[in-house]
């Protein structure tokens, strides 16, 4: 048993979980800031962005160190590759939270108007996706990750619906165009967070099953394509 190596793998897992917690919190705060028009939450999101960026660098450095010194293979190699990709996605989730917070800060300066879109409901769905994607990582369960992939379609539909009703609103009530546009952009930011959660889920499936399910390349069956010239195997 390679004790030191297993300790490093565990350290990597813990660091990614901490970063996941920070990114998840950033999205939740940004969404609450939107629904409650809360400037202080926006500022918290902005302040914490540098912590997420620092965590991203730390994780990359540790993963790089393990790759360079331990020559991991099989499930360990897949884990480290998955961690580096999830790491990048979590950092982007943090960026999207910042984008939402900045949008909210602009919105607060304008009068509130009634909009025909439930951004709060979309935010709840997106937060759930991020949380479940991280749960699938914590538990190493491909079926949890698979559920996240299915939720992405729901969020895509919400974004499409928001686009239709908000464009209509802009045409009908040009005086509230800025507010409609802000809501539209927030919906787009949320949809991107959902895409990152989807990427995280795909990486968890790759780690656990060794299956590449990106871009619907293959069902998450855990059985990658049989090599074309597979030699005879001992029966």
């Amino acid at each position: 048993m390679r004790t030191r190596f297993q300790q490093q793998i565990e350290e990597l897992r813990e660091k990614l979980l901490r970063m996941g917690g920070m990114s998840e919190l950033a999205v939740d705060r940004a969404c609450q800031a939107y629904t409650e028009r809360d400037l202080s939450r926006c500022q918290l999101v902005l302040e914490n962005e540098s912590l997420i960026n620092a965590a991203e660098r730390e994780i990359d450095e540790l993963a790089f160190d393990i790759l360079a010194t331990q020559q991991p293979a099989a499930v360990d190699l897949r884990f480290i590759l998955a961690v580096t990709k999830i790491n990048a996605d979590l950092e982007r989730v943090g960026d999207q939270a910042v984008n939402i917070a900045e949008r909210v800060m602009d919105m607060i300066e304008l009068p509130a108007v009634e909009l025909p879109v439930d951004v709060g409901r979309m935010a709840t769905a997106v937060s759930a996706m991020v949380r479940r994607a991280l749960e699938s990582f914590v538990e190493g369960k491909a079926e949890l990750a698979q559920a996240v992939l299915e939720m992405d379609h729901v969020v895509d539909r919400m974004r499409d619906e928001a686009f239709i009703v908000l464009v209509r609103k802009m045409n009908e009530e040009p005086q509230s165009t800025q507010q409609s546009l802000d809501a539209l952009l927030v919906a787009r930011n949320l949809e991107r967070v959902a895409d990152h959660a989807t990427n995280i889920a795909e990486d968890v499936i790759f780690w656990v099953l060794g299956a590449d399910v990106r871009h619907h390349a293959q069902a998450a069956s855990g059985a990658p394509a049989t090599p074309p010239e597979k030699p005879a195997v001992n029966s």
Partner: protein, 252 residues
């Protein structure tokens, strides 16, 4: 050109102790196949069954069939005939210490009755070139003994000696385990080039080496072939939990 190897229900014994259990395996021609596994798993016994070296040990015996190209290894082929077609390189370089570099490479040819000097010179040069040693020794072929070379050079000399008799298969039993990283790198480069002309089976304890040089990898454990597949599959997503535990260092 290399030829394929087919192994069917191979069992090997040392007296009453069984070392290999029902091994079935196809080695692809002109590819490198690596055999990995913890000490005592049977990988060296297996490779020694391919050129009938196993039977040179008292009380050792083999059951089953091995086909190398059109030759049936255990049915009608003499060990001498076989070893002309199946060269072997060992863990520790073993050049003939009192012979010159030239004579080391020419030894097998002379044993096979080649006497023509021009022909001998041509094959010695070609073999040393194939073993990536010619440039380093061409000016001291007759002056220096095989034993005067560095460890890495000695191992390449042994490879040249094996290539001189123009085998179709080259067996390598941990060929780099006594070498430094630079010499190891040269042997690995060589394996990469040689597989265009030869079928190579390499036993190695170094899993990264298997991953670097071989297209196919077999994992042995307790005398059984647990998994045999494309190298990238074995090292990224093995099918058997025991293979995964071994390549990730969880045991062994």
């Amino acid at each position: 050109m290399g030829v394929g190897i087919t192994v069917e229900r191979l069992n090997a014994f040392y007296g009453k102790t069984q070392a290999l259990f029902d091994i079935n395996l196809n080695v692809a021609a002109n590819h490198a196949t690596a055999l990995i596994g913890p000490s005592g798993c049977g990988k060296s016994t297996f490779i020694r069954c391919l050129n009938r070296m196993h039977e040179t040990i008292p009380e050792a015996r083999v059951e089953g069939a091995v086909q190398i190209g059109e030759f049936s290894v255990y049915n009608g082929t003499s060990a001498t005939q076989l070893r002309r077609r199946v060269g072997m390189v060992f863990q520790k370089p073993n050049p003939f210490p009192t012979m010159s570099i030239y004579d080391n490479v020419a030894a097998g040819l002379k044993l096979n009755g080649v006497r023509n000097r021009k022909q001998l010179e041509g094959i010695v040069e070609k073999s040393l070139e194939s073993a990536a040693l010619w440039q380093e020794v061409k000016d001291s072929l007759h002056k220096k003994s095989g034993a005067s070379l560095s460890g890495g050079q000695q191992q390449r000399l042994c490879i040249a000696r094996a290539l001189a008799v123009q085998p179709e298969v080259l067996l390598m039993d941990e060929p780099c385990s006594a070498l430094d990283p630079i010499s190891t790198g040269k042997i690995e480069e060589l394996i990469f080039q040689l597989k265009e002309q030869y079928t190579i089976v390499i036993v190695t304890h170094n899993m990264q080496q298997a991953a670097r040089v071989a297209e196919f990898t077999g994992f042995f454990l307790l005398g059984k072939l647990i998994e045999f597949d494309k190298t990238e599959k074995v090292f990224t997503n093995p099918s058997d939990k025991r293979t995964e535990d071994y390549v990730t260092g969880r045991f062994g």
